[in-house]
Amino acid sequence: MLKTFRKGGIHPPENKLSALSKITDIPQSKEYVVSLSQHIGAPAQCCVEKGEHIAKYQLIGKSAGFVSANIHSPVSGTVRKIDKFKNAFGFETTSVFITPDGQNDEERHPLTSEVTAKLSSKEIIGIIDNAGIVGLGGATFPTKVKLMPPDNMPVDTLLINGAECEPYLTNDQRLMEECPEEIIEGVKLLMRAINVEKAYIAIESNKPEAIKALEKAAAHATGIKITPLKVKYPQGGEKQLIDAVLNRQVPSGGLPASVGVIVQNVATAYAVKQAVIDGTPLTERVITVTGPDLPHPGNYRVPIGTPISDIIEAAGGLPENTQKVVIGGPMMGKAASNLNATANKGMSGILIVPKRYAMRQKAENCVRCASCVSACPMGLEPYLIARLSELKDYKRLEEERVMDCIECGSCSYVCISHRPLLDYIRIGKNKTGAIIKSRKTNNK
């Protein structure tokens, strides 16, 4: 029996349309607009000036605090301006507008294998920090912060997330199939960075080629084990993945490190290898462009700052009947309002949704079928917390552990009455979180 997490979960149609398309480069864009806020935490501070000529991989935004990340130029060229720019969801962030010169003069510092073999844990984390690496699963949490857990939480295991449980997305799958050696190198470096002997790479069993490739690449590596998992959403959630692979449950509100685990995405491991061994900072990533009516669903190696419209063009262009564009997967991705926006480090997929799937169905009475209760991977009662949110009963929301919700959307997915459960839960969670926070500051 394949391993999986024990509570709730759903199995939506997988629709991995782009599973067989090799990762390809896309043509150079006319302009790259690189946001200085591509991660959770403080925006990076701009360190180039208007009119300046910059090299590929040159630092353009400096990390502005512990929870922040460096930003590097994806191309060589000239800084046209530094200005506010709307991202895909309509929020403005300070961005660097770069006109490429097509030369791609690189500024990078690869290390020899003798040097890399002797790097200490601190030095590896330092290189990861300098390279601006953030969690590439979509959360974009600065990787170096995750690699430095609190001292009172001893970590014994590294868990690499290759579950890719979101329907449609295949960017991690292709990376695992095409670059297994690089990923294993990255995993080894991460193991050294956090001083652990054991690492597991968890992959859902619908990606047999990826499992085979990584097993082959890891054959001579000590302590790295590939764990195939049963296909079940949301297996890629940190808490679910730890439960599935290691049978450990992270307590409510706790960090994975509290059960001795650090979780990193496969693409992050790949980026770590590139940073440490090739001396290349994080300036590009693999993005799946997909959709039921898209002419050529595929996986593309995209420099950050590339306009979304250019990426979609590479996949055959927007079909006539498009009515929604989702950044990320269909379960947790966000609907974009602005296709002039540019790619960033957290963008795992672009899902083109045709008209017939774009609208929600009309919500009816809750018939109390309990599907949402069975589906919730956190053991919550979505019907109840959604109702309490409607009633603005924040005290009971806290008692019902609304803050445990991981917003995976399984409840809304299974609701036979089409109730927007997660919408209500998000509102309640937001408000309850604010109340808890203000209570904590008042008590201080």
Binding site: Q249, Y413, P420
Partner: protein, 330 residues
């Protein structure tokens, strides 16, 4: 491309299951039982079934139109389900006006007065049946004999049900006849006949095999989970065993299978967590046997379900699913 992009929060995909499809599945699952009731009770069953369904649908339609003044909800088939279930819980010679009264009570009082589908506390079909049982005790406990009455609706040959025979047998201790022997002597129904449904009783409850087929379909389609039916049947069987009786006939007869598979599993009136479902099922099982053995009525499934419907909010409050990370540390 239309320039207007639709913005909505995740998830962006949705299950293809709907309330309508779920209700349709319940109706499909009831088809074997309906077929059996038509086979054994013929014309009478048809009249009662048609009246109950028409009564339920019409009541819901009229209340939506003239009292609530909202959109019609009869399109979700739930009124049809209530009508079919109510009919299957009635004897096939019940006069049309009584069937209609039951339908109006089931939909009007038990369902719509509480706010319609999903908001009702008590199972409408059972509420309707119990209302009729208390209001028309004589008509509600005259059971036409199967097959012989196929072409009649009035003046049917009637007889006792197995459970009432067992009850009288049990009460008649002075004669020294055991329950089993009194059953064989008086009604003469073998377990095979009970399985097929060749015996007196409410029109839909007689054929165990038809109900089990329906139950299997519902489980297969994931319309219901196993928790409630198994909890009820297991606790009833266990209770009979503890009392020293053979549980086979009590399991196959009366309204137990119909109740356990189709009535107690009603979404709106049963608990939400698996833990709660098992407690609810076990309690229904225990109350059923207590009423059957020591109560005034030979059959107690409807009362047991109705009682536990009332306790469902309490069960929901105190028996919640275990949360992630709450597992006891070893």
């Amino acid at each position: 491309m239309n320039n207007e992009l639709i913005i909505s929060s995740s998830p962006h995909i949705h299950t293809s299951k709907t309330v309508e499809r779920t209700m349709l599945d319940v109706i499909i699952a009831l088809l074997p039982a309906i077929a059996c009731s038509l086979f054994f009770f013929g014309v009478g069953a048809l009249v009662v079934l048609a009246t109950a369904v028409a009564g339920c649908v019409a009541t819901e339609f009229l209340i939506q139109k003239f009292l609530i003044k909202g959109n019609s909800t009869i399109g979700n088939y739930s009124a049809i389900v209530t009508g079919v279930l109510l009919a299957l819980n009635l004897p096939s010679n019940l006069p049309v006006y009584i069937v209609l009264l039951g339908s109006v009570f089931a939909i009007g009082i038990a369902k719509m007065a509480f706010g319609g589908l999903g908001n009702n506390i008590f199972n409408p079909a059972i509420a309707g049946r119990v209302f009729l049982l208390l209001s028309f005790p004589a008509q509600m406990t005259t059971w036409p004999l199967p097959i012989v009455n196929r072409w009649q609706y009035f003046d049917m040959e009637t007889g006792a049900t197995i459970l009432s025979t067992m009850k009288e047998g049990a009460g008649d201790v002075s004669t020294g006849a055991s329950i089993a022997s009194s059953m064989k002597d008086i009604v003469e129904v073998s377990p095979v006949e009970a399985l097929l449904g060749n015996m007196g009783g409410s029109m839909g409850e007689v054929s165990a095999i038809a109900l089990l087929i329906g139950g299997a379909y519902l489980l297969l389609r994931k319309v219901i989970s196993w928790h409630i039916p198994i909890a009820i049947l297991a606790s009833v069987a266990l209770f009979y065993l503890i009392l020293g009786d053979d549980p086979l006939m009590p399991l196959l007869t009366g309204g137990l299978l119909l109740g356990a598979i189709f009535m107690a599993t009603d979404y709106a009136t049963s608990p939400m967590s698996h833990k709660g479902m098992i407690i609810y099922g076990v309690m229904i099982g225990i109350i059923t046997v207590v009423i059957r053995k020591w109560g005034a009525y030979p059959e107690g499934v409807s009362f047991a379900i109705l009682l536990m419907n009332g306790l469902t909010p309490l069960i929901n409050r105190y028996f919640k699913p275990s949360k992630f990370g709450e597992r006891s540390r070893k």
